[in-house]
């Protein structure tokens, strides 16, 4: 077994761990963390594929590596959006009822506009 | 030489990991950031050793970025623990 296979197995366990956290944790922030953990595992799998494709004097196949760089940035953007939603949601006190007057404060996640 | 440097990198990471295991269990947030700082320094040292051992000079750049962001993350930590109230005038 070489190092690439070792990290491949590591990424398999990471995806499993992250998936478990995603299912089990009731808190949204922990779900976001777990989701990022899965992301790390998937990116690592790409890294393993890239490493195995080492050829032409490169240490790894540059195409999956470039994909991972793109993926990391997009993962950051979606995490930022998810966290902003979460913070906004948690700053709304008691969302069980609709606002009494139409003073601009729309209910979060309300019905169709 | 390469094997020695790789072994040194492994040793540094092992000692740091040992500290991490004990510290992460302690309750205070400050201690946790201490552990993260120790891991950061250990990671920087390991990266520098790896760069020389495996002949990947770019790993020094990774260490440079880590060192730069270590200070940044710690500042953000203290700021998040001590957030001033919003002055929404």
């Amino acid at each position: 077994m070489n190092a690439a296979t070792l990290y491949g197995l590591c990424s398999a366990v990471l995806v499993g761990l992250g998936l478990y956290g995603l299912i089990i944790h009731p808190e949204p922030l922990r779900k976001i963390l777990a989701f990022n953990l899965i992301g790390g595992g998937v990116f690592l799998l790409f890294g393993v594929v890239a490493r195995r494709g080492a050829a032409a004097g490169f240490g790894g196949d540059p195409v999956p590596q470039a994909l991972v760089i793109t993926g990391l940035v997009v993962a950051f953007a979606s995490t930022a959006l998810a966290l902003a939603l979460l913070v906004r949601l948690s700053s709304e006190p008691g969302r069980a009822n609709l606002p009494s007057e139409g003073s601009g404060e729309e209910p979060m996640g309300g019905g169709p506009l | 030489m390469a094997n020695f440097l790789l072994a040194a990198a492994g040793f540094v990471m092992a000692t740091v990991a040992l500290a991490l295991v004990r510290i992460l269990r302690r309750p205070a947030a400050a201690e946790r950031i201490m552990a993260a700082q120790l891991l950061g320094t250990g990671g920087i040292a390991a990266l520098l050793l790896l760069a020389e051992a495996t002949g990947v000079p770019a790993a020094v750049d990774v260490a440079l970025v880590l060192a730069l962001l270590a200070a940044f993350v710690s500042v953000a930590f203290v700021k998040s623990a001590d957030r001033p109230e919003a002055d929404a005038k």
Partner: protein, 311 residues
Amino acid sequence: MVFDAGLAVLVLGVAAWTIVARDTFAAVVGFIAYGLLLALVWVRLAAPDVALTEAAIGSGLTGVLLLGASTRVRRTKNLTAGKEPAAALRLAAIGLCVMVSAAIAVLVLLLPEPAPTLAAPVAANLAATGLGNPVTAVLMAYRAIDTLLEVVVLLLALLGVWSLAPDRLWGGVPGLHYRADPDGILTFDAQLLVPIGILVGIHIFWVGSVAPGGEFQGATILAAMWILTTLSGLVDTPSVSRRWLRLLLIAGPAVFVAIGLAGFAMAGAFLAYPIEHAKLLILIIEVPVTLSIAAMLALLVAGPPERSLHR
């Protein structure tokens, strides 16, 4: 090999900690450590470009984002008050996850030999781009459309974050205002670190054409330095309705699309570069794109507007 095994165990240990930790803040610290260790793994997998991105975005910026969010969600009392899952659900989840892990592990062990690779075609066409770093060549030439769409995704995410502002703060100033303490360590830190950081960011961006590095990594460092100046209270975040800010955000994608369209005239396809000017055109795209990405990343961390425009 022993080093790799130890590193893999460490990564798994930190990941498990992130899942099982009781305290959310502890889990966030665990996640930052996870990103840091993954950067080491990327170096071991001969992907220093990815290692740089992971260290900068995966560990650094995401860490700051999570730290801020974790304290704010905790402070406003937990909104879920969700119940702990039942034992049966827990067991079923463990079973499912073990199966998923096992399936991926089997796939890893059954990967085709010899591994398919695109390294040879990249190497064969590298000279045509005038670049020395194959990963940058893939990002900027062969798969430039992906990179363009990625910048658009960042912009859309930023619009999404901004649109979370309450109506009365629409177009206001994101984040909180931090007061500068002229004798404090933070002011000292920012004054010393920011110039060095900007230099390092430009260095990482510039070497990207020939060595590991590039626009995303450089932009992240620039973004981190911008956030540092606002955290230390030296500079306040601009309001999101400022015209120069919007121009800065749109400059990168606009130049990218413009040169892409010019590709029809110059080389007969969208985002095609004529060979003799390939490197120059890539550079003309990269500089504004880097600045735009830096601004987008910093504003994504700053969050939706929280202060009104009229102070």
